[in-house]
């Protein structure tokens, strides 16, 4: 799941990516999941490897928490909007803090970026904290940045305190 070498021109700068990731965080904070899904291109993937994983972890040989292809990502969004997604009904309050955004290079067709995150999930009298870094594979569709892969690496050794990854972190 590592960054790739650039093969063509890249017309975005770091600040563009940062703005995009702030917008993504705002959509997730507001539970605007359809709009959030709209940031992904068809065929995109979303991963959360086991807590404490290195970046070279492989979903084909390791048991992740989340390894969504586009179909399952779409289904995840559908599910989270239902009352029968009991863990998120009533909805938790989420606050996605994004920082240390770096553009790792690539071309307009495919470029990589990373950010640090702290995501707070509050519900039922307690607040759970997820912390780590995201690794994005992005592309330009027209003038818009879109996601073709998002991987969220958690720093904690386990999720004994959080218990689940029921939100998009």
């Amino acid at each position: 799941m590592n960054a790739q070498q650039a093969t063509g021109p890249l017309s975005v700068i770091r600040g563009d990516v940062e703005e995009f990731l702030f917008e993504e965080a705002a959509l997730l904070d507001a539970w605007r999941l359809d709009d959030w899904l709209g940031l992904f291109i068809e065929g995109a993937e979303y991963y959360v490897p086991p807590a404490g994983s290195d970046e070279d972890v492989d979903p084909d040989t390791t048991l992740f928490y989340v390894a969504d292809d586009y179909f399952r990502l779409t289904e995840r969004v559908k599910r989270l909007k239902k009352k029968t997604a009991h863990v998120e009904f009533p909805k938790s309050r989420c606050r996605h803090i994004v920082s240390n955004v770096r553009l790792l290079g690539g071309s307009d067709d495919q470029f990589d970026a990373t950010s640090n995150f702290v995501t707070f999930r509050s519900k039922g009298g307690r607040t759970e904290t997820y912390l780590g870094h995201h690794l994005y594979r992005l592309c330009l569709v027209g003038r818009d940045i879109r996601i073709s892969r998002k991987v969220s690496f958690l720093d904690t050794e386990t999720i004994n305190d959080q218990g689940k990854v029921s939100i998009i972190i």
Partner: protein, 423 residues
């Protein structure tokens, strides 16, 4: 002097009226947890790990089992051993890595070094120790009992416990059904899921083979199964059998709509999934005959080996064990097993199939944990509402997997042991 027993029983079974109830105090009372530690976790066989997690000589891992920190190691003589992870000198945890491979364990505090058999082999200024100290005094302490069945290693902290083989009793039949999926053997696939949540450990034992909650709790998962092309109702909808397996172990065996990497495909897997699973079914038939091959390929089961090992052979195989951190909090460890000789495509499919339902990011497990957390919160009302009901199916002519007989089997054994009963 007679000890005054609590006036309230833990478990009440009134078979005449078909009523089975569990006192909610057993989920919240710290004194009951202390009794459980002594009468259950210190007496029963507890799952440690699978041999394929430490396949080579020198492989080791550290793991907390039943409140003890252990080192689980594949020694030079090819024997798998387990030691308490504490230095015989001052008690520091000797091994601090989660897993690795090495020739020795070295406690960094004073530099005592132990070989893979746990023997002290070096320490600074060794000449300053008396020659009269008996050999072995300063070795790592091995666990009292470590035994295995088909690669599954269990520890028992009671040196007088009966052997694992007789303890597992008829649960072995279902371990066999799992391990027989591949001629090459089964292995734990990379990674462990470790998570915790605020619910008493026994609630997860119940939940792990509770057929009754499936439809209401997991409606959103079944929506997904239908969207992915699974047939609701599916094969063998009538197959639905809870069974007592001895010593408090129980299982439900049933048909279900989801795909099984061995060897029941769903349309979403495409032609390749169809072909690969057909080939696996043919191999199973050659090895075991039609009937057993069919059972291995199509039948699902959820099994609890008392007190806290779950083997669920469903849309993937999950091994799950869980321990109390307190009355109201548990820590869960979960793995998946897969055939050693599986094709990369099937392995990929299996891991993704696991995640559609299971684990902290699945479409079902988080809702289970939420339900159990709500139960635990609800028990704050126990002074006014003091009993759980586990009566479904009691007194009926036959039992089905959505009844609660399997849970009653768990509770009868729990009650027996908590009342001082031994093996």
């Amino acid at each position: 002097m007679a000890v005054q027993m609590s006036v309230e029983p833990y478990v009440v079974e009134d078979s005449k009226r078909g009523l089975f109830r569990v006192n909610r105090r057993v989920f919240v009372d710290p004194e009951i947890l202390e009794r459980e530690r002594g009468l259950i976790f210190d007496k029963c066989w507890l799952y440690v790990g699978h041999e394929t997690e430490i396949p080579r000589k020198g492989d080791f891992l550290t793991r907390k089992v039943g409140g003890r920190e252990l080192i689980f190691v594949h020694a030079k003589d090819n024997v798998i051993r387990a030691f308490f992870n504490t230095c015989p000198h001052r008690g520091a945890m000797v091994c601090r890595e989660k897993q690795g491979n090495g020739k020795a364990f070295r406690c960094f505090y004073h530099g005592w070094t132990f070989n893979l058999d746990g023997q002290l082999v070096a320490r600074p200024e060794a000449e300053r120790y008396s020659q009269d100290i008996a050999a072995g005094t300063h070795d790592l302490v091995p666990v009292p009992r470590l035994e295995h069945y088909r690669g599954l290693y269990f520890v028992n902290y009671d040196s007088a416990a009966s052997d694992l083989n007789s303890y597992l009793a008829d649960a072995k039949e279902y371990i066999d059904l799992t391990m027989d999926q591949s001629e090459a053997g089964m292995e734990v696939v990379g990674g462990i899921q470790e998570y915790g949540f605020e619910a008493n450990w026994k609630l997860l034992a119940e939940n792990s083979f509770d057929g009754y909650h499936g439809m209401p709790t997991h409606a959103s998962y079944f929506d997904y199964v239908v969207a992915a092309g699974g047939q609701m109702g599916g094969i063998d909808a009538k197959l639905s059998e809870p069974r007592a397996l001895g010593n408090g172990h129980a299982v439900i065996e049933y048909g279900a709509p989801w795909g099984r990497p061995v060897a029941k495909p769903v349309p979403a897997w495409g032609e390749e999934g169809e072909e690969t699973t057909a080939a696996i079914r043919a191999t199973l038939e050659r090895r075991f005959g039609k009937e057993r091959a069919y059972r291995i390929a199509y039948h699902n089961f959820n099994m609890v080996i008392f007190p806290n090992l779950v083997i669920n052979n469903i849309m993937a195989i999950t091994l799950r064990t869980f321990f109390p951190e307190s009355s109201g909090k548990q820590h869960v460890k979960a793995w998946t097993l897969a055939p050693k000789d599986e094709t990369p495509a099937m392995r990929r499919l299996r891991l993704r199939n696991f995640l559609e339902f299971l684990g902290p990011g699945g479409f079902a497990t988080p809702d289970d944990c939420e339900a159990l957390r709500l139960c635990q919160q609800g028990y704050q009302n126990l002074a006014a509402a003091g009993w759980n009901d586990i009566s479904k199916g009691l007194g009926q002519e036959s039992q089905i997997s959505t009844d609660e007989e399997q849970m009653r089997i768990f509770w009868r054994e729990w009650d027996r042991r908590m009342s001082g009963g031994t093996e």
